[in-house]
Assembly symmetry: C2
Homo-oligomer: 271 residues x 2
């Protein structure tokens, strides 16, 4: 089985590529892990120009010998290649797993909306750098290699689900790249935002016409919260309960997803 790593947003350090390759070779010897050299390109903010990142993604997505596309890292930029890649995906792109989170939510959403492959929200190659990072990336590798359910988000089972960074979800709302999530449990997580912005994006989620048919909402980790001046008087849980109420969709509790070492795996649809 072959897994390809590409970077549709920001680059990774070659050391990250070496570490993740070494870990995969020991823990999953049956896997041929191909870290595309595009992952190490640098074009200012991005891992190569929009054209370079699009070409690398299309190369691995359209290669029938590759079983899974594992995203190297988030950051910002995968939305900039949607118009370049989505019309050029072929049949081979329909039969594989695409796994990542954060900014990669743009691609996961677009792939799910168009019925390409099996998008999955979960740890990326760069997460090997976290404390206990071997265990973190093992959840993703275990799922891609053998559908190992040990790394799945604990609440999954039966009902279709999808998971997004809240800000990325907000940027998808109102566009044709947001998939139909009717009857899905939507899990959201957030990182590096002040609470007033989180509240504002929850307003958008709650009022989004496209999301009226959700089965429920779960809240993942809200980490690295930026300061609010003056201090914000509500917790993330108070906020999400308020907005789910205004949305008329049940708040179902916590989800173990987020920009943390404990980030679990959420296959889109039914796991």
């Amino acid at each position: 089985m072959k897994i390809a790593v590409v970077a549709p947003a920001r680059p990774i350090d070659p050391l990250v590529g070496a570490r993740v390759s070494a870990f995969a070779a020991i823990a999953y010897p049956q896997v041929d892990l191909y870290v595309h050299p595009q992952c190490f390109e640098s074009d200012g903010h991005f891992a190569g120009s929009d054209q370079v990142r699009a070409a690398a993604f299309l190369e691995v997505a359209n290669d029938p010998s590759i079983d899974a596309v594992w995203f190297a890292r988030g950051g910002y930029g995968s939305n900039r290649i949607l118009e370049l890649v989505m019309p050029r995906l072929g049949d081979a792109a329909r039969n594989k797993t695409y796994l990542g989170y954060s900014d990669m939510g743009f691609l996961l959403a677009a792939l799910y909306a168009r019925g390409f492959g099996r998008p999955v929200h979960g740890p990326m190659a760069v997460d090997i750098g976290r404390q206990g990072g071997d265990r973190t990336v093992a959840r993703s590798l275990g799922w891609m290699v053998g559908r190992d359910r040990q790394g799945l988000e604990p609440s999954l089972g039966g009902r279709p689900a999808a998971a997004f960074n809240l800000t990325i979800l907000g940027n998808l709302i109102g566009t044709p790249w947001l998939p139909d999530l009717t009857d899905h449990v939507l899990m959201i997580e957030e990182v590096s935002e002040p609470l007033y912005r989180i509240d504002r994006t929850l307003f958008q989620m709650a009022h989004a016409t496209q999301l009226q048919g959700l089965a429920g909402v779960r809240l993942g980790a809200v980490t690295d919260v930026q300061s609010n001046d003056p201090p914000w008087g509500e917790t993330p849980e108070t906020m999400i309960r308020r907005w789910c109420g205004e949305m008329g969709v049940p708040f179902l509790g916590a989800a173990e997803i987020g920009h943390t070492g404990g980030n679990t795996v959420v296959p889109f649809g039914v796991a």
Copy 2:
């Protein structure tokens, strides 16, 4: 003629209320300017609780003796009162001007979407504190008092227009509060964001299904730009040209709107 000032988001200092009242008394003696005491309330982040802010807005919007509602200040929070106020607006709310910008875009959008009054993007009471602030607020007062066209955005004329802070526009996309802007010139401005976020929100604008029928886009001031690490390699004009191209909508050039003393007046629809 009577103008009421309310604060649906953050409070203003009583000194701001006094200054703007004194200026209006001298420059527009025919005006009865009523600064609602709610403008000075403080409930953590907000100028009073959601209920207090909603009640003050409804009081002045539904008062037939008031000709115009002038927003005191932006910040964050007017989205939180939409569900409280929009179903409770009466006939008197249909016959007046509502004027503000920034976070007030939530209310201006909702009012325009529902056909209430004449929403206008322009300087608020708090802008009297800017250098040359008398001239800044005089554009808004001149328009409210006597339809003085000297303070209007220079490109206006004939074609319907609307203006928004880009981030607030982004948060409105995909919700029923975004008005139908078909055949409108959309003007956007931004403040206190890093360029990668501006790029990301422009992506959402460009791909928004609701905005496909725009006549064109104009770019206002992009001020207090936050640092980007690594440095962003594009100017705001390069970015907006790129996204307008992907949107298939003409970029029409600059607009004199923004978080600046030069902010002009943009009545929604045909001025």
